[in-house]
């Protein structure tokens, strides 16, 4: 009896706010409204308030200046103090159409260095510094 009463009360309420559909539809509609709104607000908060930006955009910006000093299609060596693997993939993408060789072997005419964790200019045997871009990125040229 009580169950019947609860059921009919709920039905009246559902009919009032969500007329025309059977109640299982609400299993979708209500969570979708909540989650859709929450997702938007969450992304808005991340992007607009916290100003979150992907690392790749920072790489593009950082390596834009060195790109014009690297001959197109040339191979270059790349050394970094960043251990995270995608670092190499990001630099490879940012410096197209120059072609990246990870590490110092085989040796190419140019060496691009990313040194973000220290202000010292590293030394590489057989290479001399050609340009320091003052943002952790340096271009070395083979001296012999």
């Amino acid at each position: 009896m009580l169950m019947e009463k609860i059921k009919s009360y709920l039905e009246i309420r559902i009919n009032k706010y969500f007329p025309g559909v059977r109640w299982p539809a609400l299993l979708i509609v209500i969570p979708a409204l909540l989650i859709g709104t929450y997702t938007f607000l969450n992304i808005f908060s991340e992007v607009v308030i916290e100003n979150r930006r992907s690392q790749m955009a920072a790489y593009e910006k950082r390596f834009a200046s060195i790109q014009k000093d690297l001959p197109a299609y040339a191979y270059f060596n790349y050394v970094t103090d960043q251990e995270y693997y995608p670092d190499f993939i990001r630099v490879r993408y940012a410096l197209i159409p120059a072609r990246i060789v990870r590490g110092l072997s085989p040796r190419q005419k140019y060496l691009v260095v990313q040194n973000l964790d220290s202000t010292n200019i590293p030394q590489f045997k057989g290479y001399t510094l050609k340009k320091d871009y003052q943002n952790g990125v340096m271009l070395f040229q083979r001296s012999r």
Partner: protein, 474 residues
């Protein structure tokens, strides 16, 4: 010129659909379906023409744009001619009595529109401001190759050289080619271009679900199905990555929706099959999983049907499908033979170890339990919500709904089987391989599973529960 580069794929793709269905395409939900599928087909065709132009002549520039403009003008003229002189005005909607008897539920439409706007706004914020270059595979594979094709000059084939297994240089070129085409015509590599390609195909998937379910089961059911996709936040997330998984889900869904329409409107079947051939070949031109989909759909929908139909009927239908897939299919074969290097999974060295992999029972358990676990956990266990909803709502057992649905389910299960097989023979660490790819593989099939579920479930309008079959048969 900038605008032309962007709108020509939409114009060309939509014109093909209007030319095929002049009597239906310019009204109601059919127009939404035509516009969404048209955008996807346009991307498929223009990505292939841009790639072929590069391979045979030079980088697509002014002359290429002229040629593409000429093709689009021709298609638009053909569509206008077909539209003006279409004599066959049989309405597409054999269930119009059903549709007319049910009024549109306004609040449902309101919620759909609200969530659509929220989805688009979330996508733009996330894709344009937070990750304008996409996620890892976008700059490792998809946009990486597009940038090489665009900036590589005479060395553009470097896009397909092998540096490591994750590069996948044999992946087909729909996404890459679309981005490359627009960058080449515009003369600069705007970050907005890959975002636009990803966004159009993601929103297109939602509109295809809404419009195809709307045609088959009524607009209210279409709104609910689309609203369910808004619940799947992983779909939004993966779309912002700028990978090929969300685009592939668009083409798989489009093909299944077209086959469903074909099952119900036999007078349109050859034209629908031509279009399904186009979308299925777009799937194959998007990602290697799409090639599996193309093979399976031919096996199930044509070879598997031979017993039930006569040979000549099947051959006529297959010819129509084949004509639709011929351009992109042959472009794909040309790309694979001429440019793509060996795949990291399907290659001689790996296949020689096949017997070792296939006789390793622990591997089966690891793969199947890993897949089951990840499928259940996908998008915060959303599959449980779908199952509960499905069980509570009940299946519509009308002959209308039963038509063709078993083959869709079989196809989707075989796709999952294909993914499981790729893990069985994977030379990579299984845990890493499944962890890094299974979520995206589920996204490829998710909109189609949602389409099938809402196609099968009983009508959710109050006055129609259980009456769908009766109305249809009357």
């Amino acid at each position: 010129m900038d605008l032309l580069a962007i709108i020509l794929p939409f114009i060309a793709g939509s014109a093909i659909i209007v030319a095929l269905f002049p009597e239906y395409c310019l009204s109601g939900v059919c127009m939404i379906l035509a516009a969404s599928l048209g955008a996807g087909i346009g991307f498929g065709i223009t990505s292939a023409t841009a790639f072929l132009w590069l391979a045979w002549f030079d980088h697509p520039g002014g002359y290429y744009l002229m040629a593409e403009l000429g093709l689009s003008v021709f298609l638009v003229l053909l569509a206008s001619y077909r539209f003006r002189y279409a004599k066959n005005t049989t309405p597409i909607d054999q269930i119009s009595s059903y549709r007319l008897s049910v009024r549109q539920i306004k609040w449902l439409k309101g919620i759909f529109l609200f969530l659509l706007i929220a989805f688009v706004a979330s996508f733009i914020l996330k894709a344009y401001f937070d990750r304008p270059h996409g996620a890892h595979d976008a700059w490792a594979i998809w946009n990486y190759r597009a940038r090489w094709l665009f900036k590589g000059g005479s060395n553009w084939t470097h896009a397909f050289t092998y540096l490591n297994a994750a590069d996948s240089p044999d992946y087909p070129l729909l996404v890459t080619g679309s981005v490359f085409r627009m960058w080449s015509i515009l003369g600069t590599d705007y970050v907005a271009i890959p975002i636009m390609v990803a966004g159009v195909l993601a929103v297109g998937s939602i509109l295809i679900i809404f419009s195809s379910i709307g045609i088959l089961r009524g607009e209210n059911q279409g709104y609910l199905a689309a609203i369910f996709i808004f619940l799947s936040t992983q779909f939004l997330n993966v779309a912002t990555y700028q990978y090929a998984d969300a685009p592939l889900s668009f083409y798989i869904l489009g093909t299944i929706a077209l086959f469903s329409l074909k099952d119900h409107y036999p007078n349109l079947s050859l034209r629908l099959l031509f279009l399904a051939g186009l979308t299925a070949s777009c799937a194959a031109w998007t990602k290697n999983e799409g090639v599996l989909f193309l093979v399976l759909i031919i096996l199930i929908r044509f070879i598997g049907e031979i017993r039930r139909h006569n040979w000549s009927g099947i051959l006529t239908q297959f010819f129509s499908f084949f004509m639709g897939m011929s351009f992109l299919g042959s472009t794909l074969i040309y790309f694979k033979l001429r440019f793509a290097i060996k795949n990291d999974l399907v290659n001689q060295a790996n296949l020689s170890k096949l017997s070792v992999y296939l006789l390793d029972w622990d591997r089966y358990i690891e793969v199947l339990s890993g897949m089951a676990k990840r499928i259940l956990a996908f998008n915060d266990h959303i599959i449980i919500l779908l199952i509960v909803f499905f069980l509570i709502s009940g299946v519509d057992r009308s002959s209308f709904v039963k038509k063709g649905v078993a083959s869709h389910i079989l196809l989707m299960l075989l796709m999952l089987g294909g993914y499981a097989f790729s893990f069985f023979i994977s030379p990579h660490d299984l845990n890493w391989h499944m962890g890094s790819s299974l979520r995206r593989l589920i996204v490829q099939l998710w909109p189609t599973w949602v389409f099938i579920a809402f196609y099968c479930v009983k009508s959710l309008e109050k006055n129609l529960a259980g009456e769908h079959g009766k109305i249809l048969s009357s």
